[in-house]
Amino acid sequence: MKLTVLSFSLLGVLIIASCTNQEQEVEQKPKYLRWVGDSVYDPEIDDPTFAVCHGEGMVKQYFNFSQGFKYNGERSTLLEKIYSRYEPVDVDESGWIRIRFVVNCKGQAGRFRLTQSDENYKERAFDQRISSQLMSIVQSLSGWALMPSAEKPEDYYLYLLFKIENGNITEVLP
């Protein structure tokens, strides 16, 4: 009887210790990645053939090169492609959709991530006919600029932000 009680007590202590350790592990998990906005490779959604050229720790932001936003054929070409491919959706939904991704040294894009908000900057989910359509359009685009130069291209994060008003694109940033 005493042995049984002792066994259960020990088991209880071990379970509690185990839970505490798990909590500590959760607490110890870093709150931040290397940089704000970094995207870690996710095998469930990311193209396994896409890779950065100079290592994860060397991926910059598009504006780090002091050249502004760049696209082959300039921003006007990009807008033309987006507006000609996007089919407005007749819904009462407005806000912003950001699609952030990495452009590697070969001008290829990957690791696309979607963020959606309403007009008050609160998280929301848009009708998938809007969000999925925009994701498909962005993923289908080519023409990402080699930065800072074609001779010495680096990897960088870029995003496209769509201002949506009642299912229409009214602005594209940056």
Partner: protein, 275 residues
């Protein structure tokens, strides 16, 4: 003196990003805020996107959650990465704690990064109601916030109002000419069909800061006035300036009234076709 006021106005926007002098809090007897301020020194040498920078801001806020500055500087990386949700959560806290200090930054960024015209106008006009001094300039130093407010009204298709805001601003005693003020005014006049006033504004812009954009709109203005020779000449000039990089450039987003090479080539071909 006039220029001094202008410089102060433009710098005030940029100064919104400057770290406060921690000793001021000590002098005021607020040791908690002093300690929270001192902790921010731990950001030194770290990029604003980095874990170290973000964690230093968190440590500061853990000491004093009523300190607006760490919210603001923490928000910047989210802003520049296009994360509108986290940026606004942080900036709402900063503005709630100190509206006079942070409405300027939030209002300008709502315009520049999100083209949130109504939101930017609300913030700038609220700031103007709260303070009895000049509301200052944009964070990037390109504009006085009155010009930014006018551009927001223009985007909302209130062009007469936009033009009158700029007119009033440039006629104020303390006016200091911004980089693109007269270009935007000229384009507004052009859109409103006031071609002579548009040409005068383009001349003022060229005298101060020549740009391909100015020549582009000037060419369109000449075309509207029926002078195709001048239109072609100025469109050629726009082309040359564009090719020599004498044009609008913004590091993070893009300016209102910015043009691209394809725009010039298309208009040049069209004007040449008529001439």
């Amino acid at each position: 003196m006039k220029h001094l006021f202008g410089i102060i106005a433009v710098l005030s926007g940029m100064m919104a990003t400057a770290q406060p002098n921690c000793n001021v809090f000590l002098y005021e007897g607020d040791t908690v805020k002093y300690n929270a301020c001192q902790v921010l020194d731990e950001r030194a040498g770290h990029y604003q996107f980095s874990r170290e920078y973000q964690e230093a801001c968190d440590r500061s806020l853990a000491i004093d959650s009523t300190f607006g500055y760490p919210y603001k500087i923490k928000s910047t990386a989210y802003l520049k990465s296009g994360d509108m949700i986290t940026w606004m959560e942080l900036m709402n806290k900063a503005v709630e704690l100190n509206p006079k200090e942070y409405l300027s930054y939030r209002g300008w960024c709502r315009y520049q990064f999100f083209r949130d015209y109504e939101g930017a106008i609300a913030d700038i006009e609220e700031l103007d109601r709260l303070v009895d001094y000049d509301i200052g300039g944009s964070v990037n130093g390109d504009y006085h916030l009155e010009i930014a407010r006018a551009l927001c009204y223009k985007a909302l298709d209130e062009k007469e109002k936009a033009a009158s805001i700029i007119e009033e601003h440039i006629s104020s005693e303390d006016y200091y000419q911004g980089l693109f003020d007269y270009l935007h005014l000229g384009v507004l006049y052009f859109d409103l069909g006031e071609y002579d006033k548009a040409q005068a504004a383009f001349t003022a812009q060229n005298d101060h800061n020549p740009l391909a954009e100015t020549d582009f709109y000037r060419a369109l203005c000449y075309e509207a006035q029926g002078n195709l020779d001048q239109a072609q000449e100025w469109m050629n000039s726009a082309y040359d300036k564009y090719q020599s990089q004498t044009r609008m450039l913004e590091s993070y987003t893009h300016h209102e009234d910015k043009i691209y090479l394809a725009d010039i080539e298309r208009e040049l071909e069209r004007i040449q076709g008529q001439n």
